[in-house]
């Protein structure tokens, strides 16, 4: 525990700074702020300034939000801060941008909104961060404390609404303590299994006077995170791995969040164990490596689903065995002894029983396993089988030049036109699955999507957050669907105003495509509320926002247009008119047997 605590305490230098004002004689310190020439920041005078100081102490560089009555004191304090605030067009976008910032940078993304509708508009993004364990801090304005409970203007019980979708939330109860409420919420969002936290800020608390400097981000004493797994279970798991006939590693999003990608790669390559990822785990292992079987689950590759169904030893790391991965529990890896590595004890045996529960930090535990495993499993035959499945269930698709453009081709063209470290964000639906399947990911933190919640509209705002977290020389591409793009495209105004270099490719089939695909398979082709039949011209709409617009109708346009859009320095949108009948395969129907994935509709 002390190791964890040490991680979040400030450096000596920072601590010295703080002690100037937060010492045994706070009055004296407040009167003589300029006594120490190294102190460049003024002492706080209000709750709002304490909130902003807490963010500064935490190293926050960006915040995403929308102004409003109850949050105005915080914005007023932010006005003097070096934190760059990105004014979003909608609070949902603020939450998604903060979420994506957290995914790419590893540090909590910060979003702000006012009370009432501001706070409720954040809810989708907070729920998304909660499902995907993304580090995020939401700060919401609230009506003054004396009005709380009176159904005041723009009052919503924000802590009540967000309790089930936050890792922790707090109603700030006083100006002297609000700074530390924010510091603690920041630390909680980041430490252990990450997740969204929220501090609700009544206007009287932020307006109120205080000279209390907030502490550096620190989790409460009672919050405990186990770093190292039980050595006995590690030894038993290692023995199981050594004697496995058909081992696979299943890497989840926790591998990326725990910075364990490198350790997992070393382990898999040294012991020649085939590697599967979950959707959030994409990028944890290079998909162009021979051992990679890519993603398993509902729209995973056939080879990954065959391997996960037939393995005898499943090493699951940082995964919660979500139903989209497992399909029916009864038929999930039914012959496998499960070694489950996770930092959250509650994930162990929640959905799939863990025969070897290893609780701890992914990187630490994989290194423990690395030390404990002496002999690689004898799995040559199994690896050959996996390679055979790779050729049996190839992802190769038909792309006849006289037919409408196939979406897979567009994804591959975008991948080709960009560097390996390019960040891909998506909305939710068919286009998201094609982006998973046909882009070759090789690096962690390059895949940004709404996995657990499946929130359409995630793509563009997350591209904005990802852009600001990414290195300047990294490209950011948003592969979106027409339905998803339409939900949050007002974010283009932000991208143009902030001059953000992002490329949005809208795979436009004028359908809610995934619903249309399911209706064809399970509802006798009755396209209830899924068939738009018409869409605005997204390239022209982009131009109206001041972004660069492009349009693709034919195969001949693809390579050049994609190259131009990626090269354009600023936000660009390509309206790609794809084959409206294109479907996503392979597919395991809900609750189905992974090994029985369908390759065509008639196999469903």
């Amino acid at each position: 525990m002390s190791e964890r605590a040490a991680k979040v305490t400030p450096t000596d230098e920072e601590q010295d700074d703080e002690q100037i004002t937060d010492s045994a004689a706070p009055d004296a310190a407040a009167e003589e702020p300029a006594a120490d020439t190294e102190t460049t920041t003024d002492p706080v005078t209000s709750g709002a300034e304490a909130v902003v100081r807490a963010l500064e102490n935490a190293g926050v560089e960006y915040a995403f939000g929308v102004q409003g009555g109850a949050i105005m004191p915080v914005y007023d304090a932010l006005y003097d801060s070096d934190i760059r605030h990105v004014t979003m067009a909608h609070e949902q976008g603020a939450a998604h941008a903060a979420d994506a910032y957290g995914i790419v940078s590893g540090e909590p993304g910060v979003c702000l909104a006012t009370s009432g509708p501001g706070a409720t508009n954040l809810v989708t993004g907070i729920a998304d961060a909660d499902m995907d364990s993304d580090p995020m801090l939401a700060l919401t304005g609230q009506v003054p404390t004396e009005f709380v409970g009176n159904d005041a203007f723009q009052e919503t019980d924000t802590t009540g609404v967000t309790t089930p979708i936050t890792k922790d939330n707090t109603f700030a109860s006083g100006s002297d303590t609000v700074g530390n409420d924010v510091s603690e919420a920041f630390a909680l969002a980041r430490e252990g299994r990450p997740g969204p936290t929220l501090v609700d800020l009544p206007k009287d608390v932020t307006n109120g006077e205080t000279d209390r400097e907030p502490d550096a981000p620190t989790v409460p004493d009672t919050y405990e995170v186990q770093e190292r797994a039980d050595e006995e279970i590690v030894a038993a798991a290692a023995e199981r791995i050594e004697t496995a006939d058909r081992p696979v590693m299943l890497l989840g999003g926790g591998v990326i969040k725990g910075e364990a990608s490198e350790a997992c790669r070393e382990f898999a390559i040294e012991h020649e164990i085939p590697v599967i990822t979950t959707m959030p785990g994409i990028g944890a292992f290079p998909e162009d490596h021979e051992l990679s079987l890519e993603m398993a689950g509902m729209h995973g590759t056939g080879y990954a689903n065959m391997a996960i169904t037939h393995c005898d030893t499943l090493i699951g790391i940082g995964t919660r065995f979500d139903d989209r991965l497992t399909g029916g529990i009864e038929t999930f890896a039914p012959d496998a002894e499960v070694i489950h590595v996770d930092i959250d004890p509650a994930e162990i045996s929640k959905n799939i029983h863990a025969d070897y529960p290893l609780i701890g930090d992914a990187e630490t535990v994989v290194e423990q396993l690395g030390e404990a495993v002496d002999d690689s499993p004898e799995a040559k035959k199994w690896r050959a089988q996996c390679q055979q499945w790779k050729s049996d269930y190839s992802m190769a698709y038909d792309a006849p030049k006289d037919k409408p453009v196939q979406p897979e081709f567009v994804v591959e063209a975008l991948d080709e036109a960009t560097d390996d470290d390019t960040i891909v964000t998506t909305g939710v639906g068919q286009h998201q699955m094609w982006a998973c399947q046909y882009w070759t990911y090789t690096e962690p933190r390059t895949w940004v999507s709404s996995h657990g919640l499946g929130a359409m509209g995630y793509g563009l705002p997350s591209a904005i957050g990802a852009r600001l977290a990414a290195d300047d020389d990294q490209d950011v591409v948003c592969i979106d669907g027409d339905g998803s793009f339409l939900m949050t495209m007002q974010g283009l105004s932000v991208a143009v105003r902030e001059d953000l270099d992002i490329t949005v490719a809208v795979l436009n089939n004028e359908y809610i495509g995934m619903v249309r695909q399911w209706q064809d398979a399970f509802f006798e082709g009755r396209h209830a509320a899924s068939d738009y039949g018409w869409m605005p011209e997204f390239d022209k709409l982009a131009e109206a926002f001041g972004a660069q617009g492009y349009r693709i109708d034919d195969y001949d346009d693809v390579a050049d247009t994609v190259a131009d859009a990626v090269a354009y320095d600023g936000p660009s949108v390509i309206d790609v008119h794809i084959d409206p009948d294109a479907n996503v395969y392979p597919m395991v129907p809900s609750g189905g047997d992974n090994g029985q994935f369908a390759l065509t509709e008639d196999q469903l």
Binding site: T159, T163, P164, K167, D168, F171, L188, P220, T222, E224, Q226, A229, D230, I233, G302, M306, T309, H310, F321, I329, E330, T331, F332, P334, D335, A336, E337, D344, P345, A346, I348, S349, K350, N351, I352, H353, A354, P357, I359, D392, Y393, S394, M395, A396, Y397, D398, P400, D581, A582, N583, Y585, P586, D593, G595, Q596, A598, L599, T600, E601, Q603
Partner: protein
Amino acid sequence: MKKGLEGPPPEERPTPAGRRNKQGIRIDPEVEATHDPRRTVISALVEHEPGVLSDVSGLFSRRQFNIESLTVGPTEDDDRARMTIVVEEPDPGIDQVKKQLRKLVPVIAVRELEPDAMRRELALIKVAADDPAQIAAVAEMYGGKTVDSSPETATVEVTGARQKIEAAVETFSQFGIREISRTGTTALARGTDPTGTASATAQPADEANHDEPYTADDD
């Protein structure tokens, strides 16, 4: 144009022989292996602050944990409250209850109590006062006492384990029960065994995952 991908169709693929039950545990198809629900008492030491009760009750409702009673009250430490929760779940469910509770930030310690832990409940039973002497006699039989009487009603207080309360309620029903209010179970571990303190936090989660022996119902 053919929609889809090439490859051997589902019926031509090998399928493994094994299977898992609904709780994700591998089973021998020949053997019955689902876990039956059992009733147990979980004690949680929590921060004494607003919202903790709704955090805990919200957790139980959204994860569909089967809860029989939940009591909460102050402890020897002004900053701490103790919640006593009676749940009825199969072993994997009880395990989840403990781990999910422990994840709530204001929850300091969680423990499943041994079958021999002291478990008590208080009931107020209001009956028609047609036969006060007989009511007093029955109350005494259950170690209870009459706490209120009026020309028409008598109210008896009984404390004890759940079965005792239930037996008392059944016996009192002969007088014609007007109203009953029960507190739900509160409990403490016996002897020097701590029920849950800040220092003795949750048991190591690795161990928590291993199957625990079946514990009998109440005391």
